[in-house]
Amino acid sequence: MAIPISYNIRNLKLRKGLTLMTALGIALTVTTAVFILALLAGLNRAFVSTGDPLNVLVLRKGSQAELSGGFDASLFPTLKTLAGVAKDSHGEPMASAEWVVAIVLPRRDGTGEVNVIVRGMMKDGLELRPGVKLVAGRWFTPGQREVVVSESIHKRFAHANVGDTMQFGKGPWTVVGIFDAGGSAYESEVWGDVNQMASDFDRQGGFSSAYLRATDPATADALKHRVTDDQRLRLEGMLETEYYAKQTRSGMPIKFVGFLVAIIMAIGSSFAAMNTMYAAVAYRGREIATLRVIGFSRPAILTSFVLESLLLSLLGAVIGIVLMLPFNGMTTGTSNQVTFSEVVFSLRMTPGVVIAAIIFGMIMGLFGGMAPAWHAARQNILNALRG
């Protein structure tokens, strides 16, 4: 017969100080783990949610990013007229040739300068990205020195309010609007007219990339191959979603450091939990012997103490998660290893993150509780009753 769990709960309550301190120790470790997992979840979302499955991105063959390389502008008309390209609201092929560059912007809080992506696009560029919504001001006018910035650029960088002017290229650009990119990688970009930008940076006659909208997912796949296989073009087509999914490896440094830190802290916390559980067992030597005399079996005692340790770590995990809650949604940035520029993302405590954190905490409890529980179950009844 199993020992009722209320016995363990009462015991944990009895030594409040000890329980709370151990749980806090576990909580700190869980907090660290949640922080790292939430960062990775946010970063993942930034890349995975970017891109429309119908969009085909075209780059020069061999080039891996929009920033590196580029192709001749004369190829664009050929691309536009390929079979499978959808029509835009004016009945023209829905396509946008774009020019992408990284520029340096000063951070608003004065902590330095960061590379940010500036993207010049054609008028279809906006229609190709239906997930992006204007939240303030208006879109840029083609042919004007106007830009729109993403919400997080607006928040994090100086000179990024509507009406401000930004200095890059050959002179000032007026910020006319702010857009919300829904947590995607576009959250880290500044958009303007492609021709204006190219002339500002002396890159007329070339584009970094082109976006084509396919009529349906099957066509998108066919269109991608059509671009890649065309020997005249020497270009490479890929789904926009594939392109961004590849960039998630930008999270690798965070992942590496984060896991190292979390594991070291977890080992430390397991030892602390073990200490507390050993003390709990030592205090209750006579009690455990009495339970044995009454007829509770060794496995029942073992389970009971492991359960108590798990309860302790669960409490720790819950405290840890609650401690992290205020930081949920906080935005931060890291460098994108493909574009060498800043990618902005927010901490996201998804259900997956919370569950992982709880499991992480319970593992510490399990490790910490096993040896003491074993010790409790193996005690000699007579000696313990006498002690």
């Binding site: 990284a102 340096v104 070291i264 050993y278």
Partner: protein, 383 residues
């Protein structure tokens, strides 16, 4: 028996508990030492004396823009400059896309480069062979070992930024401490294969006469090109690397918050242990006081015990951290700043002081209570 001897004896009384406490605290201190080491490498260490005297000049707007090659001659004319070399990041791939096959490749002018990079050791005949062969390359010895390259081997890179695939012959292998695992070839080769690179370079590496010249020369260079269509940004090699670290996010806040969490965790663990062991010894404390031990000596007895345990844990943690840093620095994937990291003496001392301080603070409250214990009540205490 002296008081300190008594404290040590007491620390060893409940071996299992002491062991677990030391283990737990030492893991936390391992982490703390690692974090201090990273902080030191990033923000305090100025790098080798050679790197202090080197400046990097790049396009003000972004690293992805090229500068005109003639800037080199203008920079050279600034007093205090001893050598200038144009460099271009090639960013090609070798074999495949996998990150472990990525290494830095630069196109440069061998004559000037060997003057600037005086921290690289190259046999004179190999350096000469590289100078003479326009399709020759110079590689780091660690990189050569990784791919089994020998002098005379042919290596083909695939361009990603440039639409060319250079076919190069290894002419020189250099040794550098720590190794930077990089690959250098002639900028003339790049210019001929990619004609739009004629008269252009990615950035300039400048060597100045003394460390005192760094700030002045940086400013002089940027002022020189301030109003030109290609303005520049010049900074020391270390500051340039820090720029990349800053881009990884708010690293300072990240390190500090981890340190804070770790110190707090040690405090909890240590306080927990001391509270447990003092409670167990309530009767003993009363006995000590009956024998004439003062409040003060009872207090220092327990605090001393906690400090002994945490310093022991500190020593273990520092030892483990030193091992781990050494392992990271010599791992094949180690690049850039990681290879420069060492646990310095001052880092060790700082970690030990933090350990001792935490031990002291954590034991203070329970030890204070023990010292104020009422003798009669203490003797009656049955645990």
């Amino acid at each position: 028996m002296t008081l300190s001897g008594f404290a040590i004896k007491n620390a060893l009384r409940n071996r299992r508990r002491s062991l677990l406490t030391v283990a737990s605290v030492s893991f936390s201190l391992l982490l703390l030492t690692l974090m201090i080491t990273i902080w030191h490498a990033f923000y305090i260490d100025q790098g080798a004396p050679e790197t202090v005297r080197r400046l990097i000049t790049r396009h003000r707007v972004s690293l992805t823009f090229f500068l005109p090659s003639y800037y080199a001659e203008k920079i050279r004319a600034i007093p205090g400059v001893t050598a200038v070399v144009p460099m271009t990041w090639f960013g090609g791939r070798y074999k495949d896309d996998r990150p472990e096959n990525f290494f830095a490749q630069f196109a440069t002018d061998p004559d000037e480069y060997l003057k600037v990079a005086s921290d690289k050791e190259v046999p004179a005949d190999q350096a000469e062979a590289w100078r003479r062969d326009q399709a020759g390359a110079m590689v780091d010895i660690e990189l050569a070992k990784k791919y089994g390259w020998k002098i005379g081997d042919r290596v083909t890179l695939q361009g990603t930024i440039f639409p060319i695939n250079p076919e190069l012959t290894i002419r020189a292998i250099y040794v550098m401490d720590p190794p930077n695992r990089s690959f250098y070839f002639h900028d003339k080769y790049l210019e001929e294969a990619a004609p739009f690179m004629k008269g252009r370079a990615g950035f300039f590496f400048t060597h100045v006469a003394s460390a005192g010249d760094v700030a002045r020369v940086s400013k002089a260079v940027d002022d020189l090109f301030h109003n030109s269509p290609q303005p520049t940004k010049t900074e020391s090699e270390k500051a340039f690397q820090l720029g990349f670290i800053a881009m990884m996010g708010n690293v300072k806040a990240f390190i500090l918050s981890i340190c804070g969490a770790v110190v707090f965790a040690i405090l909890l663990v240590s306080a927990n242990t001391m509270a447990m062991s003092i409670r167990e010894r309530t009767r003993e404390v009363a006995m000590l006081k009956t024998l004439g031990f003062t409040r003060r000596s009872v207090f220092s007895l327990f605090v001393g015990e906690a400090v002994v345990l945490s310093v022991l844990a500190g020593l273990l943690g520092i030892l483990a951290a030193t091992g781990l840093v050494g392992l990271l620095a010599h791992s094949p994937g180690g690049i850039g700043v990681v290879t420069h990291m060492t646990v310095t003496l001052s880092t060790m001392l700082l970690a030990l002081i933090i350990a001792a301080a935490v031990g002291f603070v954590s034991a203070s409250l329970p030890a204070y209570h023990a010292s104020r214990l009422n003798i009669v009540e203490g003797l009656r205490y049955i645990g």
